[in-house]
Symmetry: C2
Subunit: 295 residues, 2 copies
């Protein structure tokens, strides 16, 4: 029981990578090499790690990736110029601007500048709009799309389920809610979105069939907030102090995994749950962009 | 009590019209006449009525409107051509394609063809995306924006409230949920979106502070689904059979008003609740489009 209720994101991500690499190979046979451009601004250590992992996965799957590193002090217009160049480059099918972008840059303008057809991160307003409208012609944002795939491929019944999404960020919470509320046999959930101003978060969680935690609050979801037999997905990545480690910090999720695992029907470990899925969805979006380009 | 708990959409819409007509007058003093184009396809009687009401309101507020009526059999490309012409016309600041569009037309393509800056209906995916992202640079869809204004101007506390939205249409339900979940002193609600596949609709409604019914199911919300002291907003417009009337039909909402009014803290009549607000928000969006154009 204690092992069997784990939703293994690494295994499911590998399934997806297998499907994606077949599509990449098929394009390659037709003479098209899938191309992905990363844009990283400044020397944020987490950004370096994330882009590094994405580069490695791209290479492993046969995607040609190029990383553009810009200095922390880059101007809005310089960044926009680079994006315009990548938008026009026929060898680039997907563009990813790694968050966080420095504060002096208007990030909404940057995400809006990426050509929607190359917006494999799914951050462009037109792609976000298509998520809410249920229009399948756009790109889904990678993390919520990855959570959705995790649920589907773990056999969690989503249709008709009461889902509580914790957190209303533009990258996870809000698009997550939008994906699960759509009219579709794989969605059709009744979604409640809770956030920092919500009054009855614990009550909402206790009646949920599925809880998706993306608040960015360390160990926010406690055992007493979860009813026996629910499914718990932890999207959180929070760095907290821990004097027992070499660095003096460690990463924890939004979910008190240790105390919740015994009562959950299914639960994601963290790390090893949602994280690998984000990259898998990025690669899937990228090959879709290349396929659309080749049509 | 029986009269005082009514949310009078006509009165609130008139307040809004007053504000909008001042902005129109101010543009007019600077030599800009606000222009609005209506596109109506076929001879659907409801469309004729709706466009007629919008034309009259436009005239009353000093907006120059032109209505383009196309035959039921119009082709996709002819309709797209008209929209392209209106997009390019500097005298037209807002474009409204009246729903319903005949079934042989791909309505998503039509709504996407309207220039986002002239999309005063707020149906373009980029504007819908901005709603979900909380980006104020877009246009809000008129009916959910109108419901939001009704709540604010009736003094209903939305922040922190548990709101249940019934219905997940692209025109009302989904953007309604998106508007109310935003981080903002006027929003900040905890929103649950219920639909035809939801399992515990009555339970969700009974715990709600605010119920917004936009299912399109006649008298769906019954008194036993509403707790004493909640706020009930009826967006529904359903034509049902009634042999006692001259036409053999009559219009009813999604809410059993007669039995719910005595227990509601506040409730919209129907007609006279949400309907007038939709037109008020259309006019407000149109003057905003003209102001943006003049900048």
């Amino acid at each position: 029981m204690f092992l069997s209720n784990l939703i293994d994101g690494r295994v499911i991500a590998e399934q997806l990578h297998g499907e994606t690499s077949q599509r990449i190979a098929s394009l390659s046979q037709r003479g098209l090499q899938v191309g992905l451009a990363f844009v990283r601004v400044g020397e944020d250590p987490a950004s370096q790690v994330y882009v590094g992992m994405k580069e490695k996965t791209a290479e492993r799957l046969g995607v040609r990736s190029v990383t553009h590193v810009l200095p922390e002090q880059v101007s809005q217009s310089e960044l926009l110029e680079l994006i315009a160049r990548l938008n026009a480059d026929p060898l680039v099918h997907g563009i990813l601007v790694q968050a966080p972008i420095p504060r002096h840059i208007d990030s909404a303008q940057i995400y809006s500048a990426v050509c929607p057809k190359k917006d494999v991160d799914g951050f462009h307003p037109i792609n976000i709009g298509k998520v809410l409208l249920g229009d399948p012609s756009g790109f889904l944002p990678c993390t919520p799309a990855g959570v959705h795939e995790l649920l589907i491929r773990s056999g969690v019944p989503v249709a008709g389920a009461d889902v509580v999404v914790l957190g209303r960020g533009n990258i996870v919470g809000k698009p997550m809610a939008a994906i699960l509320m759509q009219k579709s046999p794989h969605a059709d959930a009744t979604v409640t979105l809770c956030h920092s101003r919500s009054r009855h978060v614990a009550e909402h969680c206790r009646r949920a069939d599925i809880i998706i935690a993306a608040m960015g609050v360390p160990l926010f979801v406690k055992a007493e907030m979860v009813r026996e037999g629910s499914v718990v997905i932890d999207v959180g990545v929070n760095r907290i102090k821990d004097s027992s480690t070499k660095t003096g910090t460690r990463l924890v999720g939004d979910v008190d995994f240790v105390n919740i695992q015994p009562k959950a029907l299914k639960i994601t470990p963290n790390p090893g749950g949602v994280g690998p899925m984000t990259i898998a969805m990025l690669m899937r979006n990228t090959v879709t962009a290349a396929e659309n380009f080749s049509k």
